[in-house]
Symmetry: C2
Subunit: 285 residues, 2 copies
């Protein structure tokens, strides 16, 4: 892989560009905002794109709702031999690409599982993806060279590939990312109107739980909207658990054994899930 085009020089696009530059890959940069390209160039992320002979891979790092149109445009002008995107949802993007008539043999949808609270090229870091999972969701008609190009990209970024169908991806990220974000927001929302004295008692636990709630609300509305049904399903299960626990706690002062068991069961399931994800982290590291 010698030449890559990055379309969208925000946090993710610029971080990918920096990782590729470190390996000596030629990087061309494009963005609808010329200031974003300039900022990425100042970071040493590459040069402004000048259409010419096709690059090895085009990485479309724009908001989910614009991915399909961008892929379609790039394929029409023959910008690259292979294409990928980095949107956090896959079924909606693939559906839109199909409706526009994109060539799904050279387009390999993907999603790096990394991010930061800050956005934009100035927040980019070449090690943003190091040691992180990076999902890829090739369709059955995917061409082997295109899939190989995306695997190359993932390797050059220091991430490890997780290949799975788009529907499984969307359910997985609802469970491990999108719904946890909403739960974090629901915890943090209580703190928005709590007395100052209550905040003074906050320890590290609630800071951990609410960290992701600091993410950009507009960006997250887009993400949740694009993965609405899988996220709703997980949120409904969480809401039911919290409501059942609240109801059991209301019954506890009377010494209700079944109520105590309801509360204990959620705590045990939570500890089991936490243990499992902590183990998954160790295996993945």
């Amino acid at each position: 892989m010698t030449r890559v085009l990055i379309v969208g020089t925000g946090l993710i696009g610029t971080s990918i560009a920096l990782a590729l530059r470190r390996h000596g890959v030629g990087v061309a940069l494009a963005d609808h905002d010329p200031d974003a390209v300039r900022a990425a160039r100042r970071r040493g992320a590459g040069q402004a794109w000048r259409p010419g002979s096709p690059v090895d891979l085009a990485v479309v790092a724009v908001p989910p709702e614009h991915v399909a149109a961008q892929i379609h445009h790039l394929q029409r002008v023959g910008a690259a031999r292979a294409y990928t995107d980095v949107a956090s949802v896959k079924q909606a993007v693939i559906g839109a690409a199909g409706r526009l008539g994109c060539d799904m043999s050279t387009y390999i949808p993907s999603h790096p599982m990394a991010g930061r609270e800050r956005r934009g090229p100035d927040a980019a870091a070449e090690d943003l993806f190091r040691g992180r999972p990076w999902a890829l969701c090739p369709l059955p008609q995917a061409a082997a060279p295109a899939r190989a190009a995306v695997l190359d990209l993932i390797g050059l970024c220091g991430a490890h590939p997780v290949e799975l169908p788009a529907a499984d991806h969307d359910q997985a990220v609802a469970c491990v990312s999108h719904a946890p974000h909403v739960a974090s927001s629901a915890v943090a929302a209580r703190l928005a109107e709590a007395p100052a004295q209550a905040l003074a008692l906050a320890g590290t636990g609630v800071r951990d739980v609410t960290r992701v709630a600091g993410g950009d609300p507009a960006l997250w509305l887009d993400i949740l909207t694009a993965n609405a049904a899988p996220v709703a399903e997980v949120l409904e299960a969480m809401a039911a658990d919290l409501a059942a626990t609240a109801s059991a706690l209301r019954g506890l002062p009377a010494g209700d054994r079944a109520a105590a068991e309801t509360v204990a069961a959620l705590l045990r399931r939570g500890a089991a899930g936490r243990h499992r994800i902590a183990q998954a982290g160790r295996e993945g590291a």
Copy 2:
């Protein structure tokens, strides 16, 4: 302050003992389990307690349901000039102490806002409380010297005191600690039965959200039980937010503006709450 008695040489009691030893304070150790005292002594936390002349302060670091009886016993034998406890709920403990006839002029209920996932004297650390808030909830009849002794203890542990009524304390910790723990458990519970592929996609965000869910379920059942009503109230509000968000997401694919606004509003409230607690941390540090 020259001599302190620690009753209950678990994580919290032994950590307090280590912090006091570092300042040259004489520490006497007691626990219903002789092994726990031996383990704390091996850590250099002090010597086994031998009843004699009263110490300056007795710190009762036993599970909430045993605090009142322990304070009552120590006061009856005249073990100390002042008494405190470290239970994570205050109204229930104070109520029980009142019913037993404890002297509330020398007993100043308190609660250090610090902990670890591991328990026991071997997990203890002298810096466990450094820079952390430590609530104290003196009753109106509290004697000034007893209150001063607890403030001394807090200072020697490197923590900063937050004085507030017990009822306010219990509502505050429901909001900043107990309900966030249950929310973390509800997120982690989803991971207990998720496909391995989903766990493979987990990033740092969900690991942050679920960290506290790794806490001991039996210990947390005790904590939640002792603060049942305030926790239930916060959980009901969270469950309502999650259910409303799920319902709005179900309505989104049809392009429902009001539904999108429901989702966006929670994300914005969450970001505001997160900003507020991040600021509180900076001011407290």
